[in-house]
């Protein structure tokens, strides 16, 4: 008995204009459900792991809006069956945190079907001072499976000494010139990835992942698929340092190479569509993000 991925889907803007995180999550989630032939009403729990969204919505959980858009039990059915939605925020490691939470509710039998969505977009043209990520969204459906092990181990480590290397902060900035009717300033989002982040993330991920593999009795040669995010400047060098065959590192392509919270699902989606996922027996997930936080997971079948 394990918790497995049933389907995945990815959404990217179809025009130069910003689509917004909610719409991208909606699109990915609809594709995901469609591919699985699944009625949205079967989703018992919807977890959103995205960080950046249009207008910087802080309340309610974005997951609730997505639930309504998907028509996933916007009101509980007569038999009492409903959907419970909330957001998890753990930066680039949010997907694996969401897996950890959903896996638990699936294993305990509290839910039968879990959906994880992750998307990011800049809040608006006049509200952003730097946004280094590719606007993107992704969704995955998680289920219990009596025949597969699925996610067998997850681990998270934090390195707060490097917290300043990647920050996303909303802050009120005073205007230099204040005209009549001007509130005197404006709230702006600044996302700053400072020099050295990827190198430090790589160091943190290498040491902890080597220990994670050893603790789980897995050698580098046994890893059939490495889903390491962020991809740029991280995935290939991490695989190399760990001694993992370069051919098992998943690459998502130029359009999604700077995806943020959606990146692990996007990589999984590529692996699924190229057949690599189906062929793999041992899949290693490694995510590194702000904090620095590093997360690992093993997926076995």
């Amino acid at each position: 008995m394990g918790v497995v991925i049933e389907t995945t889907a990815v959404a990217v803007p179809t025009s130069p204009a910003s689509h917004g995180a909610r719409r991208l999550a909606d699109t990915a989630a609809r594709h995901c459900l469609h591919e699985a032939g699944r009625d949205p009403a079967t989703v018992d729990m919807l977890v959103n792991a995205g960080v950046y969204r249009e207008r910087g919505l802080g309340e309610p959980a974005l997951a609730a809006l997505i639930q309504e858009d998907l028509e996933a039990n916007p009101t509980p059915r007569e038999d009492g069956h409903g959907t419970f939605s909330f957001d998890i925020d753990n930066g680039a490691c949010g997907f694996l945190t969401g897996v950890d939470v959903l896996r638990g509710f699936l294993l305990s039998g509290a839910i039968e079907v879990g959906m994880l969505v992750a998307s990011d977009s800049p809040p608006g043209p006049l509200q952003t001072r730097g946004f280094p990520f590719a606007e993107s969204g992704a969704a995955a459906v998680l289920l219990r499976d009596p025949h597969e092990d699925g996610f067998t181990a997850l681990r998270f480590q934090t390195f707060p000494e490097y917290a300043a290397l990647l920050e996303g902060v909303w802050e009120w900035r005073a205007h230099r010139r204040v005209r009549p009717g001007d509130p005197g300033g404006s709230n702006r989002l600044a996302v700053l990835e400072r020099p050295g982040f990827r190198g430090r993330a790589l160091d943190c991920a290498h040491d902890t992942t080597a220990r994670f593999l050893a603790d789980n009795g897995v050698s580098a040669g046994e890893v059939d698929l490495l889903i390491a995010t962020p991809e740029a400047g991280f995935a290939d060098p991490l695989g190399e340092r760990l001694g993992i065959d370069e051919n098992v590192v998943v690459h998502v392509g130029e359009r999604l190479i700077r995806a943020h919270t959606a990146a692990p699902i996007a990589a999984m989606d590529v692996a699924r569509r190229t057949g690599k996922w189906a062929e793999a027996h041992t899949i290693l997930f490694v995510s590194a993000g702000s904090g620095i936080t590093v997360a690992q997971a093993l997926y076995r079948r």
Binding site: G56, G58, P60, D87, A110, P160
Partner: protein
């Protein structure tokens, strides 16, 4: 509703609770006197809120959360290094003043400040249901034996929404009216595995009535530092009145409990009037009301995700609960989230609650 199956696995419990209230008190009359427009709104009469607390210079969501976590640890049998999980559930994430921090998550800094070096940490956002959703998540991890204990903590620095609303509210029909009811506070709870025969969490059940997801929306403000919140308060109240009684009954169902088994009812604290009308509807629909209903909104205002734990802490401090008392915590939050947590009082009543 989504609920933990009633099996024979372990029970989780509230092991310790902590709070932190800023020292500065602002009377509702003073806030209403600060409105830019002459509103004629009798907010104190409408809500029953006499005053609320306001974070001072140097206090923010982070410091409120850290102080509450330390207060919680001070009466816990565990040290910070023994925590396996730290979940921060603040809606406001101000750290370093009025800087709303999205990354790294606030939990990283809270965990570091309290020395919970062995804990997994993450933030969870679910509006005013955040802390109870965190409890729901920890309850699942602990019952399965995946972790031994964890901390849910929130620091809400939200009184600035009232200051922003005061610049724009013109009448009682304003969608920013609810922002004038908000107060600052921090709260924390440690959840661990109950000893056999002890009390603990009897029920934890949640659902999202997402057709009402857009009734309350908050964004970074365009008129001042912090946020602005737009609430259709009457519509939310109507949904709560219509749907809560049935959902509470449904949540209690698998446990075999009924509303007349509940000794203390702690609803989300929005306004004294809303709580009274909710109780009236509960009686009309179910024919039963809980023996005691806890209302503390008069002194603190609506402190968002922390309200239930401020109320629990206050009543524990005053020695109101007895071992074996059943307490029902009802979350009602933007989303629209409805959650029910029922716990049987045990060791909490024997702890030292001196402030």
């Amino acid at each position: 509703m989504t609920t933990e199956p009633a099996t024979s696995v372990a029970t989780a419990r509230f092991e310790s609770i902590g709070v932190h209230l800023p020292a500065t008190r602002v009377p509702t009359s003073a806030l209403m006197a600060s409105t830019r427009h002459r509103t004629g709104i009798e907010l104190e009469r409408l809500t029953g809120i006499h005053e609320h607390r306001v974070a001072a210079e140097g206090e923010d969501s982070y410091t409120l959360a850290v102080s509450a976590a330390r207060d919680c640890l001070s009466r816990s049998q565990y040290g910070a290094t023994e925590l396996d999980m730290v979940i921060v559930t603040s809606i406001s994430k101000y750290h370093g003043g009025m800087r709303q921090r999205l990354e790294p998550p606030l939990s990283l800094f809270v965990k570091e400040a309290i020395g919970a070096t062995n804990a997994n940490s993450f933030d969870l956002s679910n509006a005013c249901a955040g802390m109870l959703t965190g409890v729901f998540v920890l309850n699942d991890f602990i019952r399965r034996g995946a972790i031994r204990r964890g901390l849910v903590v929130s620091g809400e620095s939200i009184s600035q929404l009232g200051r922003n609303a005061a610049k724009q509210v013109r009448s009682v029909l304003s969608r920013q009216l609810a922002s004038l009811t908000l107060g600052d506070a921090g709260a924390a709870v440690i959840v661990d595995r109950a000893e056999p025969g002890d009390g603990g969490i009897d029920v934890a059940a949640f659902t999202t009535l997402a057709e009402h997801s857009r009734l309350c929306l908050a964004y970074p403000s365009r008129v001042g530092p912090g946020a602005t919140m737009y609430t259709q308060a009457r519509a939310i109240h109507r949904v709560a009145i219509d749907d809560s009684p049935g959902l509470v009954q449904e949540a209690l169902g698998p446990s075999g409990l009924h509303l007349d088994d509940i000794d203390w009812f702690i609803p989300h604290q929005t306004s004294a009037r809303a709580i009274r009308s909710g109780l009236k509807m509960l009686e009309e629909r179910i024919g039963v009301v809980p023996r005691h209903t806890v209302v503390n909104v008069e002194e603190y205002g609506n402190t968002s995700s922390t309200t239930h734990f401020l109320a629990l802490h206050r009543y524990l401090q005053e020695g109101k609960f007895a071992p074996g008392d059943r307490v029902l915590l009802l979350a009602l939050a933007s989303g629209l989230e409805i959650g029910v947590v029922v716990l049987t009082m045990d060791r909490l009543v024997n702890l030292s609650w001196a402030s």
